[in-house]
Symmetry: C2
Subunit: 256 residues, 2 copies
């Protein structure tokens, strides 16, 4: 196994910040932060007590490079980077993007949406790990285990599908609440009225969501569905209402 | 104001059960449970220490009738009921369904989805109240205030729209998790892997969902969206993915 002690951190956003701080806390040395945005690089460098640069020619060779930048920029940045063991942190980018530039390469993907002001504890965050060799994979598992209790070996295709499932489970269900809020706002009713119901609905994620389903669609209550379709003011919302209600009806038709 | 002490409970399902038990606990007398299903009527009658029947001719005259049955059956049952003050508990049924049969009529709608085995405390449940006179409305507010801290006067149209908003916020977002689970199951990955992310996403309902949105659509990350559309195996899920992503993109286009 490789000896990993010093790290080159590429990026200065939320993921880079969370990883950098947690690595430093666990006695890894962040040698340098490399970021296009020099102010952000400086900010993060101060937090992790490291050098920083926005100039490719000044990049240092470390034990491991962690690329924590947006998906689209990964293909551009790799041309600047030295051939040292290198990982990216993207849910949706194949490991092979790193294939031609590095001898040891891999992915450490934290299954969490990072916001600037969230707590820094990564203990509960699952890390999905992949590498081009068993040895390097073990390195990455050791690295991630220092701040997370949940590390999993997951290949690129599975990781992309998990990321897609997370988009449904989190982003799309949040948008359902955005639409609900819009409907309430149109009626000048406080959205907060729905909070007790939301809290009840989303109190037990451990339970099978299929068993928890309620509402007019699962009851095949066509009168209520028709009435709602008439009440909806935005065509876009009506289309969503129709499509999801149909999908709910189908889901329980197949299993009954 | 009317004197309400004795209650005729029509229905023996979850709502009838929750209301009956809470009313009895607050010193109202459940005089009779009337339900098509005699076994259920008997079960509930034992819990609230009342008479029960499934025969229209045996229905007693009480101070108040509470109709807590499914929406479609309300129009049928009202023909059997005596002209005493009467309310239904439906989110989606206009108050006027009661107009021709009763002198005093109204609605008490608990904004909660009731499951058989949930706790019986209705303290946090908002009750949306409507009546055909101010006096009777005050009666109903007094009644509901005995078990809920949150009573609101809301007319039928607004109530129907709130119910519709709740379908989006709760039923539809739950279905997004059903789809996520299906995607994970297809990959033979444990759905529980998403739980930390779900908990983070749905920890603070008090926050504006519009501000909490994350994911590829709000970032207009067309590459990720395209990749997900390619990865999705079910046409139905692909259509939902497309429609909701478009809706997210539009939502933030208008406000930026």
């Amino acid at each position: 196994m490789l000896e990993i002690k010093k790290i080159l951190l590429v990026g200065s956003g939320n993921v880079a910040t969370h990883l950098g701080i947690n690595l430093k806390k666990n006695n890894y040395i962040i040698e340098q932060v490399f970021s296009r945005n020099l102010d952000n690089a400086k900010d993060l460098a101060q937090k992790v007590d490291s050098d920083y640069t926005n100039k490719p020619k000044n990049i240092v060779k470390s034990d491991l490079t962690i690329i924590a930048i947006n998906d689209d920029s990964i293909k551009d940045v790799i041309h600047y980077l030295p051939n040292i063991p290198t990982v990216h942190t993207s849910g949706n980018t194949n490991i092979n993007i790193l294939k031609n530039n590095f001898t040891n390469y891999g992915v450490i993907y934290p299954l969490q949406s990072f916001k600037k002001k969230m707590g820094l504890n990564l203990n509960d965050v699952p890390f999905l790990i992949e590498a081009n060799s068993k040895d390097f994979e073990n390195n990455l598992i050791e690295l991630c285990s220092c701040f997370s209790e949940h590390t999993f070996h997951i290949n690129s295709l599975k990781r992309e599908k998990i990321h897609m499932a997370a988009v449904f489970a989190c982003n799309f269900s949040n948008h359902m609440q955005v639409i609900a809020q819009e409907i309430m706002d149109d009626e000048k009713i406080n959205y907060q009225l729905l909070i007790p119901l939301l809290k009840k609905t989303f109190s037990k994620f451990e339970e099978d969501p299929k068993i928890k389903q309620t509402g007019p669609a699962i009851r095949k209550d066509i009168n209520v569905i028709e009435n709602h379709l008439n009440l909806i003011q935005k065509d876009e919302h009506r289309e969503i209402y129709k499509l999801i209600s149909d999908s709910i009806i189908k889901t329980y038709d197949n299993t009954d």
